[in-house]
């Protein structure tokens, strides 16, 4: 699946985003290889969601450039959208629809039709392990089932790159593990995955490579083991996070970010 002509699935160069006078992201330059799980870490307000929104074409960059799946986010946004999937932190599956209706809606908006659509929806239900409950309203689902459905929705069209914003926030350990398994399965199939997370165990278990953002800037990037080694012997990823983000108690985050996280947790719980 990866486009061999492009050396990286995601490449950003000096990507910058300002909201009036507030600089949310400053000079982000990253290269994400194909078929890996890349973690974007950082305290609340570090610029993770802003970066993901720009890479998924939801936000225009103020300056700098980026390509996703070989397409320029500013000049070819529709092509970018054709080749990506996105699972927001909030619950994006529609609770008033059944799983099969949610999948059909996504499939039709991705341009899948007829027999191909039906086959992909069936595959997606199997992938998410939701065949038995496909005709139930999503509002009756557990948090883990909803997340699996959302991942299935986002990957119906076999995207080259999948973005997930805090995919396991609010999930119990079992549901979290099933989500991880789905993501690992997608990586094996060749999908490049970029996730943001606050969960260091998740980052350690899943991610092939990590970047830590701090106050809108890239603090460090590397493989988990090499980052731990940089901090010290027996250092954990928690230590790496604290070391490079310089965050202690009471720091980081804003009202809206906290509210969104808590809303998502409440709905998933």
């Amino acid at each position: 699946m990866p486009d061999a002509s492009e050396p990286f699935a995601i490449a950003t160069h000096q990507l910058r985003k300002c909201f009036d006078h507030f600089v949310a992201l400053e000079g982000l330059s990253l290269q994400v290889p194909h078929a890996c799980i890349f973690g974007l870490l950082g305290p609340n307000g570090a610029g993770k969601s802003t970066a993901i929104k720009m890479l998924t074409t939801l936000l225009d960059p103020t300056s700098g450039s980026a390509t996703v799946a070989g397409f320029d986010i500013a000049r070819q946004p529709v092509e970018v959208r054709r080749h990506i999937g996105y699972v927001p932190q909030m619950l994006s599956a529609d609770g008033a629809l059944t799983a099969i209706e949610n999948l059909n809606l996504s499939a039709r908006l991705q341009g899948l039709r007829g027999a191909e659509r039906r086959a992909r929806v069936k595959e997606a239900l199997a992938f998410a392990g939701l065949e038995a409950t496909a005709s139930k309203l999503v509002r009756a689902y557990s948090g883990g089932m909803i997340r699996r459905l959302e991942i299935a929705q986002a990957t119906l069209h076999n995207p080259q790159v999948l973005f997930l914003d805090e995919p396991t926030i609010g999930l119990d350990p079992i549901a979290r593990r099933t989500v991880w398994e789905r993501l690992e399965h997608l990586r094996e199939k060749g999908t490049t995955i970029l996730i943001t997370t606050h969960d260091m165990e998740e980052a350690d278990t899943l991610c092939d490579e990590l970047a830590i953002l701090h106050q809108g800037r890239l603090a460090v990037v590397g493989k988990p083991e090499s980052l731990k080694a940089q901090v010290g012997e027996n250092a954990s990823l928690d230590d790496v996070f604290v070391h490079f983000s310089g965050v202690g108690l009471e720091q980081g985050g804003d009202y809206r970010g906290t509210r969104d996280s808590r809303d998502a947790i409440q709905r998933l719980g």
Partner: protein, 259 residues
């Protein structure tokens, strides 16, 4: 041709999802049906006795029935935008905007769903009107004219509502603005009194109000002896033009919801 098919497919995908939700939870439809019942059964019947508003050969109740149908469409569609703010808070808008679907097709799908909802409301208003012995036209063409008017009118006001939702972005602000807009739109139209009775300044506003053209088209199609001030082609041309402008505006503002 392929592009048009994709566009229609996207539009109907969104419309289909919206209609399914509406069928599952028709409580809003039922609650919205109460208002036209009150207007026709209470206000209409009382004012029919007063005979204070000259309506030619028509009974006042017959005159106002199309106006109340239009009002019912307006009041229901104008709050459609609140659902999109809810969808934004849930992340559904983000998910839709990350698909390659045309932005205007996403809006059009919602507008069409509002149009179908408007048709159900029209059926309710017809039932009330029949119960109150309003003289309804039962020929095919007038009924199709009313159905088309209701559909386009619902599309206009629901899209207008989506534009407002995209600007204000919060439910609290939206509710305030929605309340502020409905009554002026209603009273600055020919819904419950003829244009000729209006003072000059109000007539100018009424002529710029798409509700006036909707009421005018409904009046000629819904009731026996109903006449319209404007030709049907004029009314529909105005309404379709307003819808097109609002659709383009909404498609432009819609991505801003995800920021």
């Amino acid at each position: 041709m392929n592009r048009l098919l994709s566009y229609l497919n996207e539009t109907f995908a969104v419309c289909d999802a919206e209609v399914r939700k509406l069928i599952r939870d028709p409580t809003e439809l039922l609650s919205r049906a109460i208002q036209p019942v009150l207007w026709l059964a209470v206000f209409g019947q009382v004012f029919s006795q007063v005979r204070g508003i000259p309506t030619g050969n028509l009974r006042y109740l017959d005159f106002m029935a199309p106006g109340i149908l239009a009002q019912s469409i307006l009041f229901s569609a104008i709050f459609y935008g609140i659902a999109i703010i809810w969808e934004r808070d849930l992340g559904i808008v983000h998910k839709l905007l990350v698909t390659p679907a045309h932005r205007s097709a996403l809006i059009m799908g919602k507008a069409f769903a509002a149009g179908l909802r408007g048709l159900v409301q029209a059926a309710v208003v017809y039932l009330v009107a029949i119960a109150l012995h309003v003289e309804i036209r039962w020929e095919l063409m007038p009924i199709l004219t009313v159905a088309a008017g209701v559909f386009v009118g619902s599309c206009i006001f629901s899209t207008f509502s989506l534009v407002i939702a995209c600007i204000v972005k919060t439910r609290e602000r939206f509710m305030g603005i929605g309340q502020v807009l409905t009554m002026p739109l209603f009273f600055a139209s020919n819904a419950i009194y003829p244009l000729e009775l209006m003072p000059g300044w109000l007539k100018v506003i009424a002529v710029c109000n798409p509700l006036t053209y909707l009421v005018d088209a409904l009046r000629s199609g819904m009731i026996v002896g109903g006449t319209s001030v404007y030709a049907l082609t004029t009314s529909f041309a105005v309404m379709l033009s307003v819808f097109t402008v609002l659709l383009l505006l909404a498609a432009r503002r819609y991505p801003g919801l995800a920021r």
